[in-house]
Symmetry: C2
């Protein structure tokens, strides 16, 4: 019970950066970690580091999930992959957490199909922390449910509030509804209905938040359907990376700009760190019966270390139980 | 007939920048422009410039649309506003064009309710040109219809293709569907259905385009529902302006960064111009019986001048008639 499972083979930098993150985590937190994946490859990485050998255990798996793999197929066919075995471990050990930088689709499918939902939860939601002026803002759903009902969105807000209170230490998380205008009657039918439900939800609902305000919003939790959330997530990533790469080529254009770039290096570094997802750890799949944390596919050891830390807090704060209690409380009202 | 009407009172910089844009436009294009708005204020601005006085006519209006005004209310109550009178001019003169930097909501409501739709068009769509690597990409709908059907989206693609061919000189416009994955079965029900319809539409459909790829997409036309389009539009604006202002404060942080900033000035200016909406003119409201062009609310004279130029091309190329012909052609298939 209370185990920590790590997908040693998921993400662009596996297994090297994943193994390094695990070593750093066991050294800092003195908790035992189970790494799933190719035993030989993981062992080879482990020889590079100093750590208490009792704290890292390898669970050998023989198959590898590729990014092109159809998610549902992974679950049915690649039963001895680090991803599938890792998720299944949570079935034996419901207080365990599983952290993976592998395929989002496969993790979603696996989490939902293999673990099932917390009783009373209509749909699980993938939740990410966006950088914002005041610190992380949770945005959900970012892709687990392309079609949503208003009642799902209210549950998303409730689950993320529990998470924000416990994992991000925000006493009374403010909830905003992503929308195309600030007035209550704005948006499509789904969003008008959700607005009305959120108003009487008992959550600290601050109203509609337009997408232009996300980064400067006062909200700690922003809810939307999974289609809209995925559009927001990928547009944010695409646009930031396009702007940064354009800036980089502008800096290389002439001798003059290169000199300017050298002088600006520290300021630009600090500027870029504002937009660094690595600080924020992973994205929890809230609502399934298990602690499933998705780390960014391009995670380096620092990003993955933060995702592990997040998984440990998720476990220590009994997020699953708290979500479950909150649902029961709601249903009794 | 074939008149050009300009809302002299709309936008953050009215009437001064609007009037300047009109003067520049009549000097360059030798076409007559009717400016609607407060006669005294407009006259005062006009005294600053040299131009052929026969080419600018003022149509006095006594009321002003405020940004806080409820759009439907504007149409009913502010009947002598530059916005409402301007739209109504197109009823008398269906080959006229009206260009406004005023309230988007009021322009949408006015265009739709006062002018009505081109026969066969189910819904009009607000269309913007996004900066992209290969030049402007048309994105629609960005806010006229929060709830859409698949058939609307196919018509949006068709209208924007006509517009791209004629106004942007793109011979065979490539159409992409905004979505949360590239495979045909991705997205919510609306998008799956739209994908199937676009495939047999006869348009040059290149498939789904994820939001992270918008700026580097090969598509000339990107379609989505008005809720999603508005989210994309405002997130793009919000994020770019946040990144640029963060960059600006990074440059001011120390003496060293200030010096670097001075050296980088030309490169940064060029970098920023890549993201400059001013080059791209206005957003046509496609599908209504009239040439309605929405300029950005913060348009300066250069941006508004480009919107006027766009209105003139819209008129000269008979976009309304061409959309109408295309619809008839479709219905006969």
């Amino acid at each position: 019970m209370n185990n920590i499972y790590v997908d040693g083979m998921g993400g662009d930098n596996a297994p090297s950066e994943i193994v390094k993150a695990c070593v750093d985590a066991v050294n800092d937190f003195k908790r035992k970690i189970h790494i799933l994946g190719n035993e030989e490859a993981i062992k080879k990485e482990l020889t590079k580091y100093q750590y208490d050998v009792n704290l890292i255990k390898i669970i050998h798996t023989s198959e590898k999930v590729e990014n092109e793999d159809e998610p549902a197929m992974v679950i049915r066919r690649k039963k001895d992959s680090s991803m599938v075995v890792g998720i299944k471990k949570l079935k034996e050990d419901p207080t365990g957490v599983f952290i993976s930088a592998g395929s989002t689709g496969a993790l979603l499918a696996g989490g939902t199909l293999l673990l099932g939902r917390i009783k009373g939860i209509q749909r699980p939601a993938l939740t990410i922390a966006l950088p914002s002026e005041k610190g992380p803002t949770l945005l959900l759903d970012v892709g687990a449910n392309a079609d949503c009902k208003a009642s799902y969105l209210v549950q998303f807000a409730m689950m993320a509030s529990v998470y924000a209170q416990n994992v991000l230490d925000i006493k009374s998380p403010k909830v905003g509804l992503i929308n195309i205008g600030t007035e209550p009657n704005k948006g499509n039918e789904l969003y008008k209905e959700t607005y009305a439900l959120l108003e009487k939800s008992g959550l600290d609902f601050i109203g509609n938040v337009e997408s232009r305000e996300i980064i400067e919003s006062k909200a700690d939790v922003l809810v939307c359907d999974g289609f809209t959330g995925n559009i927001i997530l990928k547009l944010t990533e695409g646009l930031s990376s396009f702007i940064f790469s354009s800036l980089k080529s502008a800096l290389m254009e002439s001798l003059r700009s290169k000199m300017g770039g050298i002088l600006l290096k520290p300021a630009l570094k600090q500027f870029k760190s504002k937009f660094d997802y690595k600080e924020y750890g992973g994205a929890p799949l809230l609502g399934v019966k298990g602690g499933v944390i998705k780390a960014h596919g391009s995670s380096d050891s620092k990003a993955f270390y933060n995702a592990i830390r997040q998984g440990i807090v998720f476990q220590e704060k009994n997020i699953l139980e708290q979500i479950s209690n909150k649902i029961v409380e709601k249903q009794q009202l």
